[in-house]
Amino acid sequence: MKKLSWFNLTTLTLGFAFLYIPMIVLIVYSFNGGRLVTVWAGFSTKWYGTLFHNEAFLDAAWVTIRVAVATATLATILGTLAGYVLVRGGRFWGRTLFSGMAYAPLVMPDVILGLSLLLLFKVMFGSMGMTTIILAHTTFAMCYVSVVVSSRLLSFDKSLEEAASDLGATPFDTFMSVTLPIIFPAVLSGWLLAFTLSLDDLVIASFVTGPGATTLPIKIYSAVRLGVSPEINALSTIMIGIVTVGVLTASLINKRKVVQRLKDEKTAN
């Protein structure tokens, strides 16, 4: 491997420091033995212990996980279908408009998205709860999934689908038995992406939340307003861990597939 020049090394270090020092500070202080957040009082894991006895936090965590799983699943189904239609649908009427609109929530400010969803749900359901959070999260997570899936489909050899239909498979059968198995890594990483997006979200969730549907980010945010406690640090550390694992797995799934394919091709020739 090439040795980095000192200039590159400095830039790299500064960049990573900028990105990760805040998180490292948070993680370190989550193991602080004292009650005061800014004074180091020896290593301890006691805040993790109290965290697991805090009913309010545990409830919020349970809500968050259910929301994230439901969101990820819904967004993956809808996003995959949207991506498929956009890439494979040919030039149907209004295609350009549809594809532009499918990606709009990606660049829409969260506040505006949250507000508009709040108004819609007020009109439709009257009251808010977990369902509305799931629907709201699905709305924006779905765009990310469809971006991931459609970029995979663009490099997908269309003649495979033609071969399947030539051999008697209906369009749905073709999708299930040929297209989906081949693009599955992309679909899976779409799911993980949607899962972490839902886990992370504070702004949209706080607009459309209701009684009994407090997610962790909302809970943390409101707790922090009363002062940062070491418990919150511990909780945040756990969330960082979950998100890191999710994102890493998603990218590893894709990468391993590519590496595997390259290896296979080498042995085939």
Binding site: S159, S165, D166, G168, P181, A268
Partner: protein, 383 residues
């Protein structure tokens, strides 16, 4: 009357439905045009293909062969015209409802399925029983000699093996019409010959109609009942292999199929005999011509190298003799090609069997020789 050992060789039993006005074609292209944007890939094409035919499409790259196949399989629909299968318009029928299977030029094997599952894919969609599927897949594996690779994925086998999987997969369903887009290009000569005979055998047994694209003329000549030569989306000539080879209808076809000497000259017509004056001071070429030709018309005379005999003396029983000098000899083992320069400047190739060993060969470079051929050996072409 004595029983003929090979029924197909007796004139009444010759397989030639295209000459039978009562025969119903299996496939009919009626004025089919296919455009991609403003590019015309298939141009006002009309053709009938009959049941049990082995129909070969020949033509340079990009002339529209694959496009024609894709319209038959249902992946493209014609911009104009209609396509009938068994008398029914199939343009609105989706690919999965057509009794047609295609072997793709790019193979299009399913990368996530094993060789076995690739071959079984179509059979499963037919709702066959498990045993029936197993038997059929095994039969296909044996036919294509892939028994040992059944459990492998497509990326774990060689290019030639992949081609055979694609072939097996398209054969498995025993369709009414089989489209093969360059099915044997990646195989070595021996395996290719064997597979060609397998294909002809399958066709004999199942009565399937084959449409095959190939770049290998020898292959087209071996397997095809009829050969179609295409150029720029049009059929230039459709005929039996012998017809295409011996009686090409244009310079394009003569030049495209096999080797040919083309000599241009002015025609002088006398009944059905034509004299072609091709050079000042040279004796004209005498040829028998069935097609009507105007006196004084500019024509091309096409003659295959193997129809010309190379000798020390002119052969008296042939109508045409020219003297020339050997410029080059191409030795190919069983035959040799002699490139002979005529005094008028033309370079003519002649093919002779090497009936003697090399050391005792008659001619060498710079030898003066006589070229002789009959008046029916070549054809007179006007376009």
């Amino acid at each position: 009357m004595a029983q003929s050992p090979r029924p197909s060789s007796s004139p009444t039993n010759v397989f030639a439905p295209w000459n039978d006005p009562n025969a119903k074609p299996l496939i009919q292209f009626k004025n089919v045009t296919k455009r991609f944007g403003d590019f015309t890939a298939v141009d006002d094409l009309t053709i009938d293909i009959y049941e049990r035919e082995f129909f070969a499409l020949l033509g340079p790259s990009g002339c529209g062969k694959t496009t024609l196949m894709r319209m038959l399989a249902g992946f493209e629909s014609p911009t104009e015209g209609s396509i009938l299968l068994g008398g029914q318009d199939i343009v609105p029928v989706p690919p999965n409802k057509r009794p047609v299977n295609m072997m793709f030029q790019s193979y299009a094997l399913f990368p996530h399925l094993t060789v076995w599952d690739n071959i079984a894919f179509g059979l499963r969609r037919d709702g066959l029983g498990k045993d029936a599927i197993n038997d059929r897949v095994k039969e296909m594996l044996r036919l294509t000699r892939l028994d040992k690779f059944a459990k492998r994925k497509p990326h774990q086998i060689s290019g030639g093996q992949r081609q055979r999987v694609a072939l097996a997969r398209s054969l498995a369903k025993a369709p009414k019409l089989l489209l093969l887009d360059e099915p044997l290009g990646a195989l070595d000569k021996k395996l290719r010959n064997e597979t060609q005979f397998e294909l002809m055998d399958i066709q004999e047994k199942t009565g399937t109609t084959f449409v095959i694209v190939t770049h290998d003329q020898e292959e087209a000549m071996t397997v095809a009942s009829r050969v179609a030569v295409m150029d720029h989306g049009k059929m230039v000539q459709v005929d039996t292999p012998a017809g295409i080879y011996e009686a090409p209808n244009s310079v394009y076809v003569a030049d495209f199929i096999g080797d040919v000497n083309l000599i241009e000259g002015n025609a002088k017509v006398d009944g059905n005999t034509v004299s072609i004056h091709f050079a000042e001071g040279a004796a004209p070429i005498t040829a028998v011509c069935e097609r009507p030709i105007a006196d004084g018309q500019r024509v091309s005379y096409a003659i295959r190298p193997e129809k010309i005999s190379v000798n020390r003396e002119p052969l008296d029983d042939r109508a045409n003799h020219v003297k020339g000098k050997i410029e080059d000899i191409g030795y190919l083992g069983n035959v040799s090609t002699y490139h002979v320069r005529l005094p008028s400047g033309e370079l003519v190739s002649a093919l002779m069997t090497n009936s003697r060993r090399l050391a005792r060969r008659d001619f060498t470079w710079e030898d003066e020789v006589w070229l002789s051929w009959t008046d029916t050996a070549g054809v007179v072409l006007t376009e």
